[in-house]
Structures are given as C-alpha cells and as structure tokens.
Symmetry: C2
Subunit: 136 residues, 2 copies
Amino acid sequence: MTFSLDPRLAADTYHLGNLPLCRVLLMNDARYPWVILVPRKPDLREFIDLDAATRHILMDEIALVSQAVQASVRPTKLNVAALGNVVAQLHIHIVARFEGDEAWPGPVWGKGERRPYDADAAQKLNLDLSRALNLV
Amino acid sequence: MTFSLDPRLAADTYHLGNLPLCRVLLMNDARYPWVILVPRKPDLREFIDLDAATRHILMDEIALVSQAVQASVRPTKLNVAALGNVVAQLHIHIVARFEGDEAWPGPVWGKGERRPYDADAAQKLNLDLSRALNLV
C-alpha cells in the first residue's frame, strides 16, 4: 500500500510541501493560521500505529512547524492536536490561537464556518511558512 | 523554580502517579476516559519549551498512556491534544472517544458539564490505569 491523502483533507487545504515524514498542509481558513501534518505512510489512525523511532521524527516535525508558526505570527497559544473523529487518517493540527479569535478560548474544531483566504493572503502565508520550514 | 501543578488541573482530576517525565492525572469526568499528562518541569506552556530529547520522552509517555487507555477501554478513537487556552501550563489530554458519546464527533473541551465519577467507578478505573502504566 502507498500513502494517499484523504480527499477531505485535500479539499480544505493548500499543499505546502513535504518534510521527511509528513505532508505539510495549510488549512484554507483565514480565521486561524493552521497547519496540518500528515505522516506519509498508509493505514495510520493513531500515534501508536507508528513505531517509537517514527513517533520521535513526528514530534521533531511538530516542533519544527510549531517554531515556524510561532515565529511567523506570534500567537497567544499554539494548539496541537490529533483528533480524527471525522477524518480518521492520522493528521496533526497545529493551530495558532489569539485571544479574542472566533473560537477563543474554546477549540477551533466544529466551530462556525471555514472562511477561505483571499488569493493574496494565502500566497503570502504559504510563502512565509514554506520558507520558514525550508520547503522552498 | 520547582514544578507545581496548576490548581485548576488538580481540582478536576485524580492523581494516578508519576512517569519519568510527567504527572499522570485522570480527569474526574465519567463521560470520557480521559488522562492528562503534565511534564514535571516549571514554566512550560508549549511543546517547544522542552528540548528535543525531552520532547521524545514526552512522546514516549503519550504513547504509553495511549496504549494503556486503548487496551483498557477499546475506544473508537483516541484524541491527543495540547491546547492550553484556559490553563496555560503545558498539559496533554489523552481522551478515549466512542461513537455516540456526548460530544461525538466534536471535541470534548467546553462541551456540556463535567460529570464526576461515583467512587466505585473512579477507584476501578484508577486501579486499571495505574496497573496498565505500572504506577502501582
């Protein structure tokens, strides 16, 4: 089996690039700077479906993205989560939260409607993050 | 500075014990089997406040708890998250989710009212998890 991205994740995101383990996606939601990491291996649902060494690589990539997001947008708080109740394919959310954002202090999932970026804003954030992650 | 547990985390949980890095807490909410890990170091807010080696230990402990919870209650899905919008002290939620539980498929945070365990149920779950984690 080869890796393939769940079409629901593909539909709502921009593809930023690949890290050694994960596909890096930017959620197309202008309300929150929101990156999603998807380990590029088939049939994953939980962290514990990965072996210990690969979980460490995943943690390294979560940290790399967290540092890039923090440096780019200086959020109040990062939210890092692997939920998967709707899309079961293992994916990790890294969301920059700001005091007073639409869902603050609650979680972002299932709250209100996604607001797509306008093209210029998406391009700028894509470029900033891709550079910060050395993806370009 | 020494580690001290945020009093809001202490108030809502049972203390299960310690792993090498983390305090292990059981959320006193009978709606969901819900463990919280708190790294026992002062002044932590984000994963990236830990160095890379300690983040790997944290991931190992997340996996250990995830495996114990999965073996104990066989959930539909594990939810693993570090949010911290309300209590900023770094803490990691590991929540066993079941199709049809009160918040399903949404997130558990900020949804409805916590329902404390009755004493027998709490004691049994405490004991099961403590044994599974080799805390007793």
